[in-house]
């Protein structure tokens, strides 16, 4: 690993890393988080000066679909009849025209990957996955495999979760009684991985161990408890979703680190990191 970066909380300012400023209007908080974390990681890796190009791949896990309460309210107010029921005619006439078309782009789960690719000129292969920390582990495995197979020279492994919004809060609230879950945190983290031979003196850490496993479950009948443990550095407070591993590694950069997560989607991932 040659660099790591993270962002905790919104608003965050991705402006220093925006090479294509006209795309700012398309960016929601999740996109800003992803670009800021990737930018900080690339600065940390000293890979921020030149475009990354064809030799760079992006391996990203994004959180559940974000949607703001104000947009839900706007949608509702212009879509219901006098009795409060959904009214297709009003929806087609009023909600359709009043909604900002940019919302469509902000709802697509692949948009954080788009914004990272366009601002850092990533033209190589990718994996864009969803929705939790377990899938981030699988993205990390794909990145490592791509480096080993020499399909890429640089792999950005990013996790991003914008969770302080109505729809994500709704999702998590139904998984358990109020107050039983860790507070949701808006976060993004990014790790820059390169092969040891090309990283040379820029190497900041080494990936020592990486694994994952899965136990199938019926989501309508079973609720899987999540658990996260780490040694070598403090875990950030709260639930960071797919950003948890890269944020933890970024915070503990240079130390002997071990991270293990069991997620509500049945995945179990673990990794160990050592100094370069």
């Amino acid at each position: 690993m040659t660099g790591a970066g993270h962002v905790l909380g919104v608003p965050c300012d991705a402006a220093p890393f925006l090479k294509v400023r006209k795309n700012r209007k398309f960016m929601g908080p999740q996109d800003e988080l992803a670009v800021a974390a990737a930018g900080r990681a690339l600065v940390s890796a000293d890979r921020h000066q030149a475009p990354l190009g064809e030799g760079a791949g992006l391996y990203m896990a994004v959180g559940y679909l974000p949607f703001e309460q104000e947009h839900l309210d706007q949608l509702l107010q212009s879509s219901v009849d006098a009795a409060g029921s959904f009214a297709p005619e009003r929806f087609a006439r009023e909600a359709f025209t009043s909604l900002n078309p940019l919302l469509t782009f902000r709802c697509l789960s692949n948009m954080p990957a788009f914004h990272v690719s366009v601002n850092f000129d990533v033209q190589g292969p990718y994996l864009v996955s969803y929705p939790g920390a377990g899938q981030l582990y699988l993205a990390l495995e794909e990145a490592v495999e791509a480096l080993r197979a020499r399909r890429v020279d640089v792999a950005l492994v990013c996790g991003v979760a914008y969770q302080g919004n109505a729809l994500v809060a709704h999702h998590f609230s139904r998984l358990g009684p109020a107050g039983s879950l860790a507070p949701l945190v808006d976060a993004a983290g990014c790790l820059v991985l390169e092969r040891a031979d090309s990283a040379g003196a820029r190497a900041r850490a080494r990936l020592l161990e990486l694994g994952s496993e899965y136990a199938p479950f019926h989501p309508f009948e079973t609720r899987v408890e999540g658990e996260e443990r780490a040694t070598g550095a403090a875990l950030p407070a709260g639930a960071l979703g797919p950003a948890s591993l890269p944020v933890f590694v970024s915070l503990g950069l240079g130390a002997e680190l071990r991270h293990e997560v069991r997620t509500a989607d049945g995945l179990h991932g673990w990794s160990a990191w050592g100094p370069a």
Partner: protein
């Protein structure tokens, strides 16, 4: 010169297929409909589109019981078809391209009404207002006891091809014994249709739904939204032959790329599309001269089709006009995250049967689209290698090379 990865050590066979599409809900009926050039387009019946600019879609004529989120039902059925009676030995995995989380306007309105009582059971709670898309993953994995960690792909319109491509790599590199790979999507709901119409992506040819999807035609005006699911069962070729499994085809290579350009428009020269296709050919260790047909992304949008044509011309060189290029979306519409998987199955059916399906509704070719798109009628055509492509909003491009089982 594309780099050739070293991670592919085993040949990978397709030994099972399953589909739920607007024109066929079994592999056999899908093959017939493709050959006949049947359109799945029609007026939207799943909800009242009122005066939305787009009031047509390609719906799956599903008559059985259905879960609230239609894509889950489609995914379960297509997965069953692909796997039932064909399960390979070892630990199975899943690689799934999935669409956006279903968002219900009726639930949004219900929640705001006085006296609203939230649902109580876990199943009701999980499908109220917004249904997380990863439900599909766990329901399929649980039903078929798939114990390898499942990969999800949310690369939008490229997700189905990415799911198959990455599953190919997992099997080819020996990291998985076998993988069920595909995609599932249904966005034919008020927010899905309105969202795409709001950005001008969908057709508004409401008076002629069966003629609305017309890839490469001068009069195309946007894509016809479809829905469905498709899966392929991937396992090592050697093992498949040893156990006497029927091999439909091989997956020979996969490539992906970012355009790193516009959010809704492709790179003007098709750079990313070309890179993804080149990488797939490099991994398959074949030259462009060995491509016998192309299953195109072919969305019927003004922006995609000419740029895809440019990229194919660059890839195929002087042979570009000799290679048949079919657009399955002309018949099934755009299945978004399931598109690449349904189109891969279409390509495999043609590869097996020695035919290429038509691009229907191509009557007035766009001068900027000047390849052989197989207009109107299917054609007998023996093939060894087919290239199948998907290109997403946000500039994610994916391509796979399919090889005949006889090659």
């Amino acid at each position: 010169m594309e780099r050739v990865g070293t991670g592919v050590t085993r040949r990978v066979a397709v030994t099972g297929m399953g589909v739920v599409t607007p024109i066929g809900q079994t592999v056999e009926s899908y093959a017939r409909a493709l050959q006949e050039g049947r359109s799945g387009g029609g007026p939207i019946t799943l909800f009242d589109p009122a005066d939305l600019p787009t009031r047509i879609a390609a719906e799956v004529p599903w008559t059985g019981p259905i879960l609230r989120d239609r894509k889950v039902t489609f995914a379960l059925e297509a997965a069953r078809q692909a796997l039932e009676g064909r399960r390979p030995p070892g630990v199975g995995g899943l690689s799934l391209g999935i669409g956006l989380e279903l968002f219900s306007m009726d639930d949004l309105a219900a929640r705001a009404r006085a006296g609203f009582v939230p649902p109580t059971t876990l199943a009701e709670r999980l499908t109220f207002l917004q249904t997380p898309s990863d439900l599909c993953v766990h329901l399929i994995s649980q039903r078929h006891d798939l114990r390898a960690p499942p990969l999800t792909h949310v690369s939008a319109c490229a997700a189905g091809t990415d799911a198959i491509g990455s599953a190919f790599r997992l099997v080819a590199s020996g990291r998985r014994d076998w993988v069920l790979a595909g995609g599932a999507d249904s966005m034919i709901n008020p927010l899905g249709v309105a969202g795409f119409a709001r950005i001008g992506a969908t057709t508004s040819a409401n008076d002629a739904p069966q003629r609305a999807s017309r890839p490469f035609d001068r009069r195309r005006d946007g894509f016809l939204l479809g829905e469905g699911a498709a899966f392929v069962l991937l396992e090592p070729l050697e093992g498949a032959r040893a156990r006497g499994a029927h091999v439909h085809a091989e997956i020979a290579g996969y490539g992906s790329s970012f355009d790193a350009c516009g959010i809704s428009e492709p790179h003007p020269e098709g750079r990313g599309a070309y890179q993804a296709m080149s990488r797939a050919l490099a991994e398959a260790r074949i030259t462009p001269e060995e491509i016998d047909s192309v299953n195109a992304h072919g969305t019927s949008t003004p922006k995609n089709d000419p740029v895809e044509t440019l990229a194919l011309k660059r890839l195929l060189g002087p042979r570009a006009r000799e290679v048949p290029v079919s657009a399955t979306k002309s018949m099934i519409g755009h299945l978004i995250s399931a598109a690449g998987a349904a189109e891969a199955v279409a390509a495999i059916l043609g590869l097996q049967g020695g035919w290429v399906h038509p691009t229907i509704n191509l009557e007035e070719p766009d001068p900027a689209c000047d390849l052989d798109y197989v207009p109107g009628r299917f054609r007998a055509h023996r093939q060894r290698h087919v290239l199948s492509t998907s290109f997403a909003f946000g500039g994610q491009n994916a391509a796979i090379v399919l090889r005949s089982a006889d090659a």
